[in-house]
Each structure stands twice: as structure tokens, then as C-alpha cells.
């Protein structure tokens, strides 16, 4: 990049991967710091997740002989819907306050903004899941805190956060984003949802690890695809604002 004028008095540091990661980190940390003060996203998601768990508990309590049959579905349904509640704030708040332009005006790769946002969202999801799993244990007496279930949940969450952050960015300037986001998001999440439920069921049914790996593979592939597509798309999403 050609120097535009004279020697710059306020120097910038060198580029490279470390600088890229510093920018990703800056975006993520900024989001988390603001969230720690407002608790807007995590508060909403956690309240929804716990209430939904209670509602499912009441709904299935009388009719289901073995809760292991329904708990995998319950876990993933709650994560799915709780996520939709939080994700639209990711860019929604930036658009409402006009700060998105501040991000886009900075010499920051669009992918770094995306990754920073996704990292913050991942943290919110993990916090909510850390509250949800014990709640399900108490309500249904089913222990989901097993290594493979946690691995599946983590990988699934990574993929979900990837798609969700991308779609949140795509819909952020739409006035109906709160309702639009779930409508576009849920069909795309179907493979993830099916694999997540499948994996969780395999473990709860004690069907052995050989049956787990295919599900892990599908979820891993989904994650890789999501982030590859996101990297291709982020540069054009904000072409015109």
C-alpha cells in the first residue's frame, strides 16, 4: 500500500497473522465486555433455555417412561431456539447504534470482524449450555455430561455459531430481522440438528463409540463448510451500507 502523505507520526504495527488475530480478538473482547455490562444476550438466552427445560419437563413428565428417549431432542431444540434469540443482537445492536460503519471504516478484514463476532457468540452459547446441562440432569435425571456428548455439543455449537453469525450479518439491515433470522436459519441447521440428536442418542443408548464417529465426522464437515462459505461471503455482504 502506497504511503499517502509524509511520515506518519502515529505508527501502526506490522501486519501478518498475529496482527490479524489481534483484530479478531479486539472485536470479540469488545463484544464480550459490552455484554458483561448489559447481559442482554446471555441473560435472554439463559432465561429462555432454563424455562424451556422446565416446560419440556412438565410436558413429558407424565407420559414418557424413559426420559433418555426424549432428552437428546430436548437438548438440541432448546439450544437451537435459544441461539436464535441471541444471534440477531450480534449485528443488530451495531446497526441500531450506527457503529457498524465504525467497524467497516477501520482497516480490518471483514473476515476478522466476522470471526470476532462468532467468537463472542460461541462464548455466550457455551455459557448457556453450561447452565442447561445441569438443569436437564436435575429435571430429567439424565446425565449429558459425557465426553462424547460434550464434544458433539461443542462442535455443533461451533457450526451453529458460524451459520448464525453469517446469517445475522446478512439480515442485520432488514427491519424484520428478529423474525427473518429463525426462518432462514432453521432449515440450514437441519443437518446439524439431526447429527447432534443422533450422536447424543448413541451415547445415551450405550451403543458404543464406533457409532459415534460418523456423527462427529458429519458435524466436523458441516463446521468446515460453514466457515469456508462464510469467508467467501463476508467480503460481499457489506459492499453497500
Amino acid at each position: 500500500m502506497a504511503e499517502l502523505s509524509g511520515a506518519e507520526r502515529v505508527r501502526s504495527r506490522e501486519g501478518g497473522v498475529a496482527a490479524y488475530l489481534r483484530r479478531v480478538w479486539a472485536v470479540a473482547e469488545k463484544d464480550v465486555r459490552a455484554e458483561m455490562r448489559s447481559k442482554e444476550v446471555v441473560g435472554t438466552m439463559a432465561a429462555f433455555a432454563l424455562l424451556a427445560a422446565v416446560v419440556f419437563g412438565l410436558a413429558f413428565d407424565l407420559r414418557v417412561p424413559r426420559p433418555e428417549l426424549v432428552v437428546p431432542g430436548i437438548l438440541w431444540v432448546i439450544v437451537l431456539f435459544a441461539g436464535v434469540l441471541g444471534l440477531h443482537r450480534s449485528f443488530g445492536s451495531e446497526v441500531e447504534r450506527g457503529t457498524l460503519a465504525g467497524l467497516l471504516l477501520a482497516p480490518v478484514e471483514r473476515s476478522a470482524i466476522f470471526l470476532g463476532k462468532a467468537a463472542a457468540n460461541l462464548l455466550y452459547f457455551l455459557i448457556v449450555e453450561a447452565l442447561l446441562l445441569p438443569a436437564l440432569l436435575i429435571l430429567f435425571d439424565v446425565n449429558l455430561i459425557e465426553p462424547f456428548i460434550l464434544l458433539g455439543l461443542f462442535l455443533g455449537t461451533v457450526g451453529y455459531v458460524g451459520v448464525g453469525t453469517l446469517f445475522a450479518a446478512l439480515t442485520s439491515r432488514n427491519r424484520a430481522k428478529e423474525t427473518l433470522l429463525p426462518v432462514v436459519l432453521l432449515p440450514v441447521l437441519a443437518p446439524l440438528f439431526i447429527s447432534g440428536v443422533g450422536l447424543t442418542s448413541v451415547i445415551l443408548d450405550n451403543r458404543g463409540t464406533a457409532e459415534v464417529w460418523p456423527w462427529v465426522g458429519i458435524i466436523g464437515l458441516y463446521d468446515a463448510l460453514v466457515f469456508a462459505i462464510a469467508f467467501l461471503l463476508v467480503d460481499v455482504i457489506w459492499e453497500q451500507i
Binding site: 500500500m1 502506497a2 504511503e3 499517502l4 502523505s5 509524509g6 506518519e8 507520526r9 502515529v10 505508527r11 501502526s12 504495527r13 496482527a19 489481534r22 483484530r23 479486539a26 472485536v27 469488545k30 465486555r33 459490552a34 455490562r37 448489559s38 447504534r97 450506527g98 457503529t99 460503519a101 465504525g102 467497524l103 467497516l104 471504516l105 477501520a106 482497516p107 480490518v108 478484514e109 471483514r110 459492499e239 453497500q240 451500507i241
Partner: protein, 227 residues
């Protein structure tokens, strides 16, 4: 030593329409190093649209903007390091304090020694005593001062100010005047809009009005006598 000064901002035959409305019809101008150019114009005349085009947020339908030797249409993200912007929205995060906001942007711009620079700017804009307060507790004028500090944080050669005088009290205007004089003396190219003709005259080497999609230069008789 005389050498032809290449303009830092060169805007050539820029056109922009929204739907059927032709907002900018044929806009050309240059801003050289150490020059301040002000733009007047009625509400909705397209000033902000032009500023957004120069700051690489929006692409023109036709025409090209050059920053120094670089055409914006084919510039990489790195070009944004050379631009500082005050927009209508303050581009600040409500939940973060003044110092945290500047610190965040300093990291996006990857400044080598942000703390000194941030302290200096906060003191210059007379915000130091409120540095740790959340921006949502700031008054309109305090936010505007912080927005101005944010825009010049990375000391960009091209400074684009959309109505920087809104919400400022007399002392704030004074600070802004001093800042603009400083930017001029240090060879920055400044492009600013305002609704206040007096401010435009005070700040600028040249004043334009944007009317029906074209720029019209406004003569500054007293300026001409100065020279």
C-alpha cells in the same frame, strides 16, 4: 523547492442515484495536502452520500475517487488506515467508557503506542475527567467530542467530517477550530460538511455548495484579500 503537489483526495465525475432519485449528478473536486474544503447544502442534498463515497463505505454508480495515487474502486482494506471519519452517528459503543472506545479503535487500527495517543486526545478534547464513564452517560456534545477524537486517533492524512460542529458548545467549536488549523498545518487533507456558513468560512480554504447534484463554489471575498 517546488514540486507539483498531488491532491490527497481526487473525486472525478462521481454520480450516485438511489432508485430514480439522482442524488449526485457529476461531482468533481480535489483536496490537496494542508487544505480544508467545506461543503454546504440543504438537508437531503447528498452531502453525507458524497462523504460516504469518499470514505469508501459506498461505491459510486459512476466516476472514481482517488486517495493519493490509489483508486478506491480497487483499493484493499488497508486503505482505510489513511482515512478518518466523523459521521452522523458517533460510531461509539454506549456500554464502553470513553477510554475503552478509543482503546478498541486503537486496536483495530493497530496503533503502536495507543495509551499516550489516547490520553493526549482525551485531554485535548477536554474529556479526560470523564474517561472512565460509560459513553451512554455522555451528553450530545461530549459524544461529539469523543467522535472527533476517534476520527483522528490514527492520525490519518485524509480527514472526513460530516457536520463535526453539531452539538458542540462554544468551547467545543473552539477546540474544533484549533484541531482543523492543526490538521491543515500538518498537511492533512480535510473535507467537511456543515450547515453553518460562518464555520465553513472560518475553517476552509474553499467552500462549496451541493445543489441539485452539482458542486457550486462559494466565493470568500475576505479570504481572497488575505492572500
Amino acid at each position: 523547492m517546488t514540486q507539483p503537489i498531488e491532491p490527497l483526495i481526487r473525486c472525478e465525475h462521481v454520480e450516485k442515484r438511489f432508485g430514480h432519485k439522482r442524488i449526485l449528478r457529476d461531482v468533481s473536486f480535489t483536496v490537496a495536502e494542508g487544505e480544508v474544503l467545506s461543503l454546504l447544502g440543504a438537508n437531503g442534498s447528498g452531502k453525507t452520500t458524497l462523504l460516504r463515497i469518499i470514505s469508501a463505505l459506498v461505491r459510486p454508480d459512476k466516476g472514481e475517487v482517488w486517495l493519493g495515487p490509489v483508486p478506491l474502486s480497487s483499493a484493499a482494506d488497508g486503505i482505510r488506515r489513511y482515512i478518518g471519519v466523523v459521521a452522523h452517528a458517533p460510531l461509539l459503543y454506549d456500554r464502553l467508557s470513553g477510554i475503552e472506545n478509543l482503546d478498541f479503535y486503537a486496536r483495530l487500527y493497530d496503533l503502536a503506542e495507543p495509551q499516550k495517543r489516547i490520553e493526549k486526545l482525551l485531554r485535548t478534547m477536554d474529556l479526560w475527567q470523564w474517561r472512565d464513564d460509560a459513553v451512554r452517560t455522555y451528553s450530545r456534545g461530549m459524544s461529539q467530542r469523543l467522535a472527533i477524537a476517534r476520527a483522528v486517533l490514527h492520525d490519518p492524512p485524509v480527514v472526513i467530517l460530516d457536520e463535526p460542529d453539531t452539538g458542540l458548545d462554544l468551547q467545543g467549536i473552539q477546540l474544533l477550530n484549533e484541531l482543523l488549523a492543526q490538521l491543515r498545518s500538518r498537511g492533512r487533507a480535510v473535507f467537511t460538511t456543515t450547515h453553518n456558513l460562518e464555520h465553513a468560512k472560518n475553517w476552509s480554504d474553499r467552500v462549496f455548495e451541493l445543489r441539485s447534484g452539482h458542486l457550486h463554489q462559494i466565493e470568500l471575498p475576505d479570504r481572497i484579500e488575505h492572500r
